[in-house]
């Protein structure tokens, strides 16, 4: 389990980004970390991976302080940044030097992932396009079989078929021991994948709920006429009408649009919070 307790962090002393920040991430989940630009998503991932150091407070993984970045911890975490570095060597060479650092690295799985992404394995890594580099890095990250996988904007640059492949591969990679945290703006790419949803706003987790609970409490409707004030929780203009987020009073199963949920939470989160009886969930 990853635990962040009473963490304070800011890039400058006077500009605090995280103030007494608390969060717990349990194994067996693919967390979707959503937030506006500058909300602190990437910073949070770097704090978890130990690339940044809290001013006060701690971040631990199974009682190990992450910022100490011991080799034992680092071999259990894979952080894939939005733009990752690939050296000017061939796939086989990359595998020979990097896979050894990860004790459970699965070579067969790696080549299988490359095949799924339709990436040629005989090429030099620097000859790949941006999207191909992303696919390669994703294939490696998933084959590393680490207990924690942090992905920052993983679908940026991926073509449409690759996004589907990505969802399939992540879904097949998760098990009871692994924690996935996917930071993204492309919420539609993450449909049926991320659960729970974490929404970060100005260094604070303002929403942290499982999809099942969200769907139990909220319903998505489509209206042709604009709702009256107070009639619904949130609505947005869409083509030919209005997408409406409302309280699910009849308990019927329905699918929630994550983008609409995000906009609702960010625009007026008090209504949603009261519906979920939510203080900020820890």
């Amino acid at each position: 389990m990853i635990k962040i307790e009473n963490l304070n962090f800011g890039y400058r002393k006077k500009e605090v980004l995280f103030n007494q920040f608390n969060l717990a991430l349990s194994p067996g989940n693919i967390y979707g970390l959503l937030g506006k630009n500058g909300a602190g998503k990437t910073t949070l991932l770097k704090l978890i991976s130990g690339l940044l150091y809290p001013q006060t407070g701690v971040c631990t993984y199974n009682q190990i302080l992450t910022f100490k970045r011991t080799p034992e911890f680092l071999s259990e975490i894979f952080f894939l940044p939005e733009i990752s570095y690939l050296p000017a060597i061939k796939v086989k060479e990359y595998l020979e030097i990097y896979s050894l650092f990860y004790p459970r690295f699965d070579e067969n799985k790696f080549y299988s992932h490359l095949k799924d992404f339709e990436i040629e394995s005989g090429k030099r890594l620097t000859s790949y396009s941006y999207g191909q580099k992303k696919k390669f890095s994703l294939a490696f990250a998933l084959a590393a079989n680490t207990k924690i996988i942090l992905l920052d904007e993983p679908t940026n640059g991926l073509d449409i078929p690759a996004k589907s492949v990505f969802r399939k591969l992540v879904a097949s990679s998760i098990d009871d021991e692994k924690i996935f945290v996917i930071s993204t703006h492309q919420v539609r790419d993450m449909k049926h994948l991320i659960d729970p949803i974490l929404i970060l706003e100005k260094g604070e987790i303002i929403f942290n709920r499982q999809i099942a609970e969200i769907e139990q409490k909220l319903s998505l409707e489509f209206m042709h006429e604009e709702p009256k004030p107070g009639q619904v929780l949130y609505y947005e203009n869409t083509l030919g009408g209005f997408a409406v987020l409302n309280e699910n009073n009849n308990g019927s199963e329905n699918e929630i649009d994550i983008e609409l949920l995000f906009n609702a939470v960010v625009s007026d989160n008090q209504k949603i919070r009261s519906l979920f009886h939510e203080e900020v969930t820890v």
Binding site: S49, L51, Y53, P71, P81, Y85, E93, F101, Y102
Partner: protein, 287 residues
């Protein structure tokens, strides 16, 4: 102990260093061979045409250019040995490698010391082999000279390389530290720092000079810096000729001792400083 230094992880880091840099190393080795051949070619000319036997002393000196070339390449390789810290993506890749600071630091240390010296020796061997091969196939009677000259035994004796090895270690230590310390534009920054330091020392000694520390005498030292450390006598003081020579001798001996100390202490000091800086990046600065 394995928490600080693990042989397996260290070997993995070394393998990584050589695999990622093999293209650069190959280019460097080839260019060293090429430069060696050029030196051999021009080195053969002055004596073989006019005086075939024996070799004049200065011809041997030509081959002492080779260790100098090694030092120049050392400066380039060592300065850029921490290129991984230059950009955020490379830095993340490097810092997230499951290895300790000691393993990361010493892998680069081994690559730039033993690895590079081995490479330079190999380049020299290839050059010598090539030159010997060329000479043996040239019709000597026709040309009346060797096309190339190869490195003579004297040059390859360890005693000849000892001062260069010292310079190498001092240069390595200072640049290795600078490589970790300066994130970008390492080489220009290092040059500027050296110039600034030299200027600073000279200005400081000049300043002391203007304060009234006069009566300078010199034993062949020319700069303000050297005079400052070797021969200032306070103004208005009387000193006998014998005492002056005694002081001079003492100062000469002191400088020799200091030079030797510097050769051993400076590398160790900067290597430790470099390690501490990398550790600081690892556990304080982050990305």
């Amino acid at each position: 102990m394995s928490k600080v230094f693990n042989a397996k992880r260290f070997f993995m880091m070394i393998t990584r260093e050589f695999t990622l840099n093999k293209k650069n190393l190959l280019i460097i080795a080839l260019s060293m061979v090429l430069i060696g051949i050029v030196i051999s070619y021009f080195g053969a000319k002055p004596y073989t045409i006019t005086r075939p036997q024996p070799l004049p002393a200065y011809t041997v000196k030509i081959y002492e250019v080779y260790p100098f070339i090694v030092l120049v390449y050392c400066a380039i390789i060592v300065t850029y040995s921490f290129m991984e810290l230059n950009t955020p993506d490379k830095k993340i890749d490097y810092l997230m490698l499951p290895a300790t600071t000691a393993e990361k630091y010493f892998s680069k240390f081994v690559y730039t010391t033993f690895g590079f010296i081995l490479l330079a020796t190999l380049a020299l061997a290839v050059n010598t082999l090539f030159v010997k091969l060329m000479n043996s196939n040239v019709p000597y009677d026709y040309y009346k000279e060797n096309i190339f000259i190869f490195y003579r035994q004297k040059v390859l004796q360890p005693i000849n390389y000892w001062p260069y090895l010292h310079y190498y270690l001092v240069l390595h230590a200072v640049l290795f530290f600078a490589g970790v310390y300066f994130v970008k534009l390492e080489l220009p920054k290092i040059l500027l720092t050296v110039i600034a330091l030299a200027l600073g020392i000279n200005l400081f000694s000049l300043f002391l000079n203007t304060l009234g520390v006069v009566g300078v005498y010199s034993f062949g030292y020319n700069t303000n810096f050297q005079r400052f450390f070797t021969g200032y006598i306070p103004a208005g003081k009387q000193i006998s000729v014998q005492s002056m020579y005694a002081i001079g001798e003492f100062q000469r001996q002191t400088i020799i001792v200091l030079e030797y100390l510097a050769l051993f202490i400076v590398p160790i000091f900067f290597w430790i400083l470099g390690f501490m800086r990398l550790r600081e990046i690892e556990v304080k600065d982050g990305v």
